[in-house]
């Protein structure tokens, strides 16, 4: 019964979203406030309907209602509670339902936000968002319905893919979708701006918090995914350039470009057309990501649900919003007055334009690489693989170039700047960075690239610090620390995010260059040597979990001073008929010892276990750096000055001008 209520609520939400869409667009077009009021109510109904639908689905999972096909395919009565909840969105149908709910939620948020933005713009944005949500719900209802019942319900479910039964991955889809779908609201606001005929500084200020929020959620979603890959897949790696990873990374890169160009539009009224284009493309790439993941056109280790028929649906939605958006963009080019804010070749504007150039080129390169196997098949009739080695070879240099200039560019002032005056302030940072690089070059003589990478990382960290301290009045005031804390959250956000980039670079370079890996076949009671440590397999215990069996090893590691115990394990999930690797890790200041237990093997008589041992230096810096980037986004978002719209803006500008 509850399942049917959910199903009904979802269909209701679809019609409410359609009504929201029509009323919102008409209200904006005719400047009729009654339609606007109507669309706001419809937005609430859409949201409540979609929420009831998801709650009903979660209820079916919690009660292990095996008359629902989706529950049978993805759950098991013995599955732990948290994965019953997370399982409802850990599968294709449920995840698309979550997509719709988040989309409706963003619309509701916009509808109720107290921001003083033009109501015609808001009305149109709600209209566009309503259309997006309506189509996604239609897709869920007609092509991927999670509420389908089975005529002959089985007694037990097939269980969720055990790899997905993990805390980080339970939280991964909601965050990722908050990011993807947040981009849909930025898109809606961009289209509304085009329809409204006003794409200017005020508009940029309106979209900025939404762009920041979705970008931050996307950052966290990607971070959780990478962290999960690191400890769950058991290969010590954290980024594989898998098509699905690329699908989330491309909107992230464009989102990063969008955040930077929106600053120029907001502060200087320039680049408005470019910012709108980025908003359209960022959402298009989010949709493309969904299409690539769900249609199965690209095989991927992460593709959990593949169905070509669904691909056609998503492709149609993608074509409608990308094509429609770009068409409108072309038609309304005249409303985007780009030459409002002039700037000199050396200025903060130019620096941000170059930042955008490289970020967009990097994004498109990843897009080409991701789609090239399809093109190769279609054009040349040859199967071509494009894997991690290609992406590393092209992406790293592109990013390195823009990162080298980041610290200097962050000093530039608007309109017109001088390189020499600012370069002086960075001399200490540059000297320390070079010393750091030389130290690494001395330690690791055969790895010159690691020295270059560390120099870049230190340069970024100290560059961000120099710029921040400068803002706090270094050299002018004795109270730098106090003044730093008084700085607006926005500046803290920029500092922390750029600092995070540097931390990440150092982590990534050191980890890739100096990772140690060795595979052993080890019997119980035997000892092997790894990087100056004695590793002994004490015992293997057979344990039983709620929905799995496990072989847990007890391994003592002696580094000459003290002994620590690690317990890597292998699990077998009988319902899903899948084994998983449960690694165990022990971190110290310099890195992390990482162990994955392989399969037993008794070929040579005595039974031996395969044990893969890694030492991953500075791995914490990779995830920590990425976390700092997300934290920077959060701090910027917390800045009230960003959220209060136009009237405050003109006040600020007046102050700045005087």
């Amino acid at each position: 019964m509850i399942v049917e209520i959910g199903h009904f609520a979802l269909i209701l939400a679809m019609f409410a979203a359609l009504a929201q869409s029509c009323a919102g667009l008409i209200g904006g077009q005719r400047a009729d406030y009654r339609f606007y009021t109507f669309t706001k109510r419809a937005t609430d109904i859409t949201f409540v309907g979609a929420a009831i639908a998801l709650i009903a689905l979660i209820h079916a999972y919690l009660t292990s209602d095996f008359s629902v096909k989706n529950v049978v395919e993805n759950s098991h009565s013995l599955k732990p509670l948290i994965y019953k909840i997370a399982g409802s969105w850990g599968n294709h149908e449920g995840s698309m339902l979550l997509w719709a709910l988040v989309g409706a939620g963003f619309a509701t948020f916009l509808s109720h936000s107290k921001e003083e933005l033009a109501w015609t713009l808001k009305s149109r944005a709600l209209g566009v968002q309503g259309l997006i949500v309506a189509l996604v719900i239609a897709y869920v209802v007609f092509a991927s319905n999670p509420f389908v019942r089975l005529p002959n319900p089985p007694f037990q479910g097939n269980d969720l893919n055990p790899l997905l039964q993990d805390p980080a991955l339970a939280a991964h889809p909601p965050f990722l979708y908050l990011g993807y779908v947040g981009m849909s609201l930025v898109y809606s606001l961009a289209i509304a701006g085009l329809l409204d005929g006003k794409v200017d500084a005020v508009w940029a200020r309106i979209i900025r918090p939404w762009a920041l929020a979705s970008w931050m959620f996307l950052t966290i979603g990607i971070l959780l995914g990478a962290y999960w890959a690191y400890y769950e897949l058991g290969w010590g790696g954290w980024w594989f350039w898998d098509p699905v990873e690329n699908a989330s990374f491309m909107p992230w890169l464009l989102g990063t470009a969008l955040l930077h160009s929106a600053i120029v539009t907001e502060k200087r009224g320039a680049l408005a057309a470019w910012t709108v284009l980025l908003a359209i493309l960022a959402f298009s790439l989010s949709l493309l990501g969904t299409f690539l993941v769900r249609s199965g056109v690209l095989t991927s280790v992460h593709a959990f649900a593949l169905d070509p028929k669904r691909g056609v649906w998503i492709l149609l939605i993608l074509a409608l919003f990308t094509g429609g958006g770009l068409l409108l963009y072309g038609l309304r080019a005249s409303v985007m007055n780009s030459d409002k804010g002039m700037f000199a070749p050396v200025s903060r504007e130019t620096a941000l334009v170059l930042n955008n150039l490289f970020l967009v080129v990097a994004t498109l390169t990843i897009l080409v690489g991701t789609l090239y196997p399809l093109l190769g098949e279609a054009i040349y009739g040859r199967a071509i693989s494009v894997g991690a080695p290609y992406f590393n070879a092209v992406f790293t240099p592109l990013m390195s170039i823009i990162l080298v200039f980041l610290p200097l560019a962050s000093f530039f002032s608007w309109k017109r700047s001088k390189i020499t005056t600012h370069a002086k302030k960075l001399i200490p940072a540059l000297i320390i960075a070079i010393i750091g690089g030389l130290v690494v070059a001395f330690i690791a003589k055969n790895k010159p690239m690691s020295a270059v990478g560390v120099t870049l990382g230190v340069w970024l960290i100290l560059g961000a610090l120099s710029e921040f301290l400068q803002k706090a009045g270094l050299g002018k005031s004795n109270d730098v620390v106090k003044r730093a804390f008084a700085l607006r959250p926005m500046y803290w956000g920029m500092f922390i995010a750029h600092l995070g980039v540097g931390v990440f670079v150092i982590g990534a370079v050191v980890e890739t260059s100096f990772q140690k890996e060795q595979t052993f076949a080890i019997g119980i009671g035997e000892t092997v040597q790894f990087e100056g440590r004695k590793i002994t397999l004490d015992k293997i215990a057979s344990l039983e979990g709620p929905n799995f069996y496990s072989d847990a090893a007890q391994i003592s590691v002696n580094d000459g001073k003290k002994t620590i115990i690690l317990n890597p394990a292998r699990r077998y999930y009988p319902a899903a008929k899948m084994p998983t690797t449960e690694v165990d890790r022990k971190a110290n200041l310099f890195g992390e010892l990482y162990m994955a237990l392989g399969e037993p093997n008794s070929e040579s008589g005595a039974s031996k276990w395969v044990l893969r041992v890694y030492f991953n230096p500075f791995i914490g810096w990779i995830f920590g750096g990425y976390f700092l980037i997300a934290l920077g986004g959060f701090l910027s978002m917390a800045d009230r000055g960003l959220r209060v719209a136009a009237p405050k803006a003109s006040g600020d500008i007046a102050k700045a001008a005087s």
Binding site: G341, M342, L357, Y572, P579, P647
Partner: protein, 159 residues
Amino acid sequence: MKKLIASIIMLFGLVATSAFAQSLEQKQLDPKQNERYNNLAQEIRCVVCQSEPVATSSAKIAADMRDVIKEHILKGESDNQIRKYFANHYGEYVLLRPQLGATTIALWAAPFILLLMGGAVILLLMGKLKSTPETIPPESIPTEEDAEALAALKELEEK
């Protein structure tokens, strides 16, 4: 029942990776060769997996392919000879880092072309900026129209 399952696990383990264990003895490779081996194992695709390199795959064929890489390194072949060997044997799709050729020139040229195109557009626009007289105006201020509309709205919302 439990015993049965345990034996299934054992069986699964044996089938899946008995070959994996064979590739354990990497001792014959000196450190430099070992580094080449690790790099090549990342570049060669496991032919039964979904875009996974042989380095991380636990499929039997991946283990065999790793052994082939090792053999060829021990024979003294260069990295390129080994790549060619795999491309000839399994088709060029086995290379995760596609070799530069007629079918992949567009792939490798893409970043350069995109960068050149973007750079050219920016230079053109910048050139336009330079040619304009030094009238870089103060700040962009929301137009009066905007301000009026916003004030009107605020009133509406408050009502």
